[in-house]
Each structure stands twice: as C-alpha cells, then as structure tokens.
Amino acid sequence: MTRILVVEDEPNLRKLIKTNLAASGYEVVTAADGEEGMSLTQEESPDLILLDIRMPGMSGWDMLIALKTNPKVKKMPVIIMTASAPEESEEYKMRSMRAAGYLVKPFGVDVMLSKVKEILESK
C-alpha cells in the first residue's frame, strides 16, 4: 500500500488532505511541523511527501533541504504546498526544482489527487 506523509501546520487542511487521500486508498501519516515530519520520514519511509512551505519552527524549505541533502531519503518525491506561485521569484523556482511538484493554495482536491497520482506513477 502506498504511504503518503502530509506535513501541514493548519489543522483544517491536515484533516482535509488526510481524509481525501485515505478515501482514495492511500495510507496517510500526518505531521504538524518540520521536525515531526523529519522523524516520521525516517520512521515510516513514505512513498511521497506532501509538504507545506509556510510553517512555524522548521519551515517547509528547511525540511526540503534536509531531505534533499540526506542520501537515504533524497530520492523521496516531495510535493510542496504553497500560497504563492513558484514563478514569482527566481529563488523560489530554484528551490522548488528539487521538489517533484507543487500545489498552489487554495487548490481543489481533484487537482491534489491527480498530482499525487501523477508523481507516484512517474516514480
């Protein structure tokens, strides 16, 4: 069974994403911040990570860099969730290159599900 880690600080959205992914037959693990996300990554070795960028404490960026610099998990696909479109700044683009894909908030569940499916299939 495909396992997906969702890292999102906003409880409503965490619940929203988990509910829909579960309804689509995925096994879902959730974390409320970057630190929790990192430890769950080690413990659960998910097939995909949905990562919110703007979070207190260890932000999505910090976690993305931590993932991509760790040889054990660096091939793990990450979809970042952000409130701003990546083309708004060069820096954003550069950093997002290491992400497998992105979702711009607010996004429809359908868009999310097809993005997840697309990334998992391209693996």
Binding site: D9, E10, N12, L13, L16, I17, T19, N20, A23, S24, R54, M55, P56, A83, S84, K105, P106, F107, G108, V109, D110
Partner: protein, 690 residues
C-alpha cells in the same frame, strides 16, 4: 668763519708790522725830517720873504704857494691820525719795554689796559715780568723773540683781577747805532677765547674721530667731488673685506663696491648737496669676495677746510633681510595654505572675535569682504546665539572641537548645517591666544545623508510592505484553502461521504468563511486608519454595555481560558463607539488567549482616572520582552512577528486597536514581565454630566 677771522687777523698783523716799521723809520728820520721840514720851512720863509715882494707884485703866486703848503701839512696830519686811530682801536696791545729781565714799559696803548686790566699809569709803573703768570716767562719769551722775531710766542699773563689769559706776543728788539738792544717793541693779543675754541674744536674732532672709528656700523668719509675715500672705520673694512690700504684714496667705483650706474651715484651726490643728508637708503654692497650684502646707508654732507665731504654710515641688514624674507615667504606660504585649503578657516582671539578669515570663510558666512567679517564674533554664527550659549561654546572651544555639527547662521539670517572644528592657537609663550576655527558647509552632505536615510526607510518600508502582503495573502489563502478544499471534497463523485462527515465539512467551510470575512474587515479597518478615515459612531454608554455586546465573541475566544470581568461600581460612563471599543476588547482578549496557557485567567478590568477611564486586559502568559514592547503597536513590526511566530491572524490587531483608541482621543500601552504575563491598557474619555 674762523678762516675769515684768521685772515683778517693775519692781514691786520701784517699791516701793523708795516706800520711798526714805518713808526721805527719815522723815529729814525724824525729829527732829520724835522730838520728838513724846518729847513724847508725856513727856506720857504725865505722864499716867502724874497717872494713876498714878488708876491706882493704877484699876489696869485703867493696864494698858490700857501695852498701847496697847506696840502702837505694836511697829508702829514692825516697819516699820523690814521696810525693813532689804528693803534687806539685795535684790540691789540702795543708796548715798548726795556730789555732787562724785569723790564719797564716805556709806551703802552689803551688796548694794553684792556688786555691786562691795569691802567696806563699802573702799567708804566710796574715791572713787565710781573704781568707774566710765571716771572721767568718773560725772559723765555724774549729769548724766543730774539731767536725768531717772526714767530709769535704764546704765553700766559696774569690779569689784575687774577684771571689768567693766554696771549700771543710778537716782538722785535730795537737796537741803537752800536747794535745794543735799546728796547723791545711788542704786539700782544689775547688769544684765550681763540685757544679755547681751538681746544673745543680739537676735542670735538677727537670725539668725531673716536665715534668714527669705534662706531659699530661701517663708516666712510668720501670727498664729494673726487669720490675718493678719505677715511673708513674697521667695520667698513670688515664689511667690504678690503684692507685699509686698498681702500683709502680709491673710489667705491674703482673697487666696484656698489656696482651702480654713474647716474645713480650722481643722483645721490645731487640729493646730498641739496638736502645735506640721505637717510636709510637701501643699497647693495659687494665685498671683495663678490658677496652681496644689503645695507642701509645714511649720508651726511660735511664741510672740512672748505671742501665737501660725504660721511656715510652703512648698516649691514643682510641677515635681517634674509630672515625677513624667510618670514615673509613662510607667511606667504601660510597665507597660500590658508587661502587654498579646501576649507573655510578663521582665526579668532580668545573671546571669539574674528581676526583673520580666508575668502572661503567669508563666502560661506555670506559676507562681501574680509573687512566686513573681521571683528565679528564667531559665536554669532553658531545657532546658540544666547550669552550662555556663547559661554558654553567658549568652554567647548577651549577643549578643542573636532568635527562637531552645528547649525550656523548665514549673514542673511538663514541657517545651514556646518561641521565645526576649533583648535587653540598659542602665543610664543605657549599660553592660549585665540582659536583656529574651520567650518565646512555640510548642507549637501546632510541632504545626501537625509536622502540616503529616506531611501533606507523607503526600502525598509517596501520590504515590510511586501512581507505584509505575503502575510496577508497567506492569511487570506489559509481559510480559502479550507473552503476550496472541503467544497471540492464534498463535490467528489468517487467517494460517498457520510452525513456526519458532510456536516463537519460544511461547518468548517462556514467557520473559515467567517474568518475570511473578519480578515477582510481588519484589512479595511487598517486602510481606513491609515487614511485617517476611521468613522466612529460616538455615544454615551457604560463599559458593561460594550462588554455585553461583545460577549458572544469574547466567550467563544475564551473557551479554553478563564475570563473574569472586574468593573468598579462607580465607574463613569464613557464617550465611545460601542462596536469599535468592543472590537478593541475582543482583539486584546484574542491576543491574550494566543499567548497564555489554557485554563489561565484573562481579566478585563477598568478604573476611573480623572476625566478618563482606563480599561485593561490582563493575562498570565509568556510576557513580552521589554525591547519589543515599544514596537508592538507598529504595524510593520507586527507583520514581521507574525512571520516568525505565526500565531494566526493578520497581525494587524494591535495596530487597529491603537488606531481606534487614538481616534477616541485616548492612548494605548502595555505593561509586561517575561514569564508573568502582560497587561494591555487603554484610556477612554469619561462622559460628562452622567
């Protein structure tokens, strides 16, 4: 003049000598002459007698003879008269005395009485030697006369009144037919005054000679016509480097000492002849070694023995000139530095009065000329124009100032920012004599600095604004993400949601829509406050009414906390917009819940304070660091804090509270202690007459 006297005297003496000889001749020929005369007379008588007859016959012839006789008698008389008057009126004593050592006067003229003070009778009675100061001097004098009758003998006589006179005696022995000296004839002249004058002259000449030779300046005496040096002193020789032999008898031109043109020399001679002197003429003197010396020359026209001389004193001022020149050059250099330094410089005395200023300073302070600025006090140009200000300035100046910035006054009264430097100027003794003040007009620099600061602020504002935009956009997108997400969840056709699930999702959508609405209204409030367009609906009400009106929201917010409200019974009503103050209370309460632990107390309290009411919201939360308290109400800071802390909300809450409170004429502040909690307070105007 002396010459003239001399000559006259000489002439007189000669004449007298002639007369004396004639007298002697007359003496000799006297008898013979008389005999002759009487013979002639007798003859003429005879002639007369013999001719009387004839004369009688011829009367005209007799008369002619008588006339001739008269003429000859007149002539004789005239001649004798002349001699008498001469020896009477002359101040020359004439005497005839006997040759023995004591001697007796045989004849004296009246002048002898004048010279000796004795009367003629007294003189004829006394011994000649007694007149001499020393008795034996007569013998000596006679000896000298015998030896050389042409040489006058100088000796001393004692006058009757005891005074001593110098006399010159010219004498001659008169001998009889056997050659024996019968008597001495002598001409005596009182030369005391002349001697004294001669002595005085001798002394003055001596003094001159000494002054000339021992003078500490170079001196030379030149024949004005010949231009030849007659005498020079040691200093002159030292100055020109020649020996006395090389100089005396030569002209300065021959020695090429002055290296000047003929015309210059002639011009000098002309001036000297006309005015008698030349004073402090600067000339160049070339030494034997060819070295140039600068001298001040003063010349005086002198008449010596009827010849014109130029007496010159030369003072070597070469070293003085050199040091003057060096000083002038150094001053010039300093002046050049003073003028060309790219800075405004002034020199003041101790009380601050400007004594010198360069043209830049004159220009900077707005004056037309240096003279216009001179004497003005430097303190006048410093903004602190008051007396105490000037005193303070002086104290500051005395310590020395480096790069202090002051507002300075321009002559036209306008101000400009200036950088001021003052250093103490010390006199030769090392005590303070004034100040050297420099001023730099830093208007442009200030403007540039201001611009840079403005630009920095603008950039910061810009940065914070984009940060705020990012926050606002995030805060807006979060509820939107929920709404969109749950809406699309419900719209999923592949999943059949239970009724409970559907209801849960719809409630979330509803709650997030409210949150979005509040956010939007916060943003609108903020922009109204920014624009000063916040409209209040003021009314008189009790604080309790306001709390009641907001109770629903307050209760919701404090579900996990313990909300206490403590209002004193005598609390006056307030003049306020009920809804807006309710908004302030809920905002403060919401903040309190965000930053304090669940279950802790949140207290809303109030107290009267004069014509105001102070309302406070107190929590027992984490508290706020003191350095952050000042920034709490700053919108930009809030935006940043949100980014770091992320406690939800736009972060505009406190800024909106401040805007609302200030619109009521009140103020808002915070008291806090880290780890103990925070107390936010604001004032409201108490309603009057209620």
């Amino acid at each position: 003049m002396a010459e003239k006297i001399n000559k006259t005297r000489e002439e007189l003496l000669n004449e007298l000598e002639k007369l004396r000889q004639r007298v002697a001749e007359l003496e000799k020929s006297n008898i013979a002459e008389r005999e002759e005369t009487s013979k002639a007379f007798r003859a003429s008588r005879r002639k007369q007698r013999t001719s009387t007859a004839e004369l009688r016959k011829s009367e005209p012839g007799r008369k002619q003879l008588q006339a001739t006789l008269r003429v000859s008698e007149d002539k004789l008389e005239e001649s004798e008269e002349k001699f008498r008057s001469l020896i009477t009126n002359l101040k020359l004593g004439i005497s005839r005395s006997t040759p023995e050592p004591g001697g007796v006067y045989l004849k004296v003229n009246p002048a002898m009485s004048e010279i000796t003070g004795y009367s003629r009778e007294e003189l004829l009675k006394m011994k000649v030697a007694d007149l001499y100061y020393h008795h034996e001097e007569r013998k000596a004098a006679l000896g000298k006369i015998m030896a050389d009758p042409h040489q006058p003998v100088e000796t001393t006589l004692k006058k009757k009144d005891g005074t001593v006179r110098m006399v010159s005696i010219k004498g001659a022995p008169v001998r009889d037919s056997w050659g024996r000296i019968r008597y001495f004839d002598a001409i005596i002249e009182d030369i005391t005054e002349r001697k004294q004058a001669e002595d005085a002259l001798k002394q003055s000449e001596e003094r001159f000679r000494k002054a000339f030779h021992s003078s500490p300046v170079a001196m030379r005496l030149i024949g004005l016509e010949s231009g030849r040096m007659v005498d020079v002193n040691e200093y002159f020789l030292k100055l020109v480097g020649y020996s006395r032999e090389e100089v005396i008898g030569h002209t300065t031109r021959e020695l090429d000492i002055l290296r000047e043109k003929e015309e210059a020399h002639l011009e000098r001679v002309r001036i000297l002849k006309e005015t008698g002197r030349i004073t402090d003429l600067e000339i160049k003197v070339y030494t034997r070694a060819g070295e140039e010396r600068i001298c001040l020359m003063s010349s005086e026209l002198l008449l010596l023995d009827g010849k014109e001389y130029s007496l010159s004193a030369l003072k070597d001022i070469t070293e003085l000139k050199k040091s003057e020149e060096a000083l002038r050059r150094s001053e010039e250099k300093l002046r050049l530095v003073f003028e060309s330094a790219g800075i405004d410089i002034a020199v003041t005395n101790l009380s601050g009065a400007i004594t010198e200023a360069n043209s830049r300073m004159v220009e900077t302070l707005g004056f037309k000329s240096r003279t216009e600025l001179a004497g003005k006090n430097i303190y006048e140009f410093i903004t602190q124009r008051s007396h105490t200000g000037a005193l303070k300035m002086r104290q500051t100046l005395e310590k020395g100032i480096k790069g202090m910035e002051y507002m300075l006054y321009h002559a036209d009264g306008t101000k400009f920012p200036g950088e001021f430097t003052a250093s103490i100027l010390k006199d030769a003794a090392g005590s303070p004599a004034g100040f050297i003040v420099t001023v730099r007009d830093i208007t442009e620099r200030k403007q540039a600095e201001d611009k840079a600061r403005e630009l920095r602020v603008l950039r910061e504002v810009d940065h914070l604004r984009s940060e705020l935009m990012a926050n606002v956009s995030h805060e807006l997108r979060t509820p939107l993400a929920s709404i969109k997400g749950f809406t699309t969840t419900l719209l999923r056709s592949d999943v059949k949601w239970s009724e409970e699930e559907q209801r849960d999702y719809l409630q979330t959508i509803n709650r997030e829509t409210d949150r979005l609405t509040r956010l939007i209204s916060d943003l609108l409030d903020m922009s109204r406050i920014d624009a000063g367009a916040l409209k209040l609906e003021l009314g008189t009400c009790h604080l309790q009414q306001i709390i009641d009106a907001a109770s629903g929201r307050l209760t919701t917010l404090t579900q996990r906390h313990q909300l206490n409200i403590a209002l004193p019974l005598d609390l006056p009503k307030v003049h306020a917009d009920e809804l807006r103050i309710g908004q302030v209370l809920t905002n403060l309460t919401e903040n309190a819940t965000k930053f304090s632990p669940e279950g802790s107390e949140i207290l809303i309290s109030a107290e009267p304070a004069g014509d105001q009411v102070i309302v406070s919201v107190t929590d027992h939360g984490q508290g706020i660091a003191s350095e952050l308290m000042g920034k709490l109400f700053d919108r930009f800071y809030q935006a940043q804090r949100i980014a770091d802390g992320h406690k939800g909300g736009t972060g505009l809450g406190l800024t909106i509270c401040k805007g609302i409170v200030e619109a009521h004429g009140g103020r808002i502040w915070v008291e806090s202690k880290l780890g103990e909690g925070s107390k936010f307070s604001f004032t409201l105007p108490a309603a009057r007459g209620d």
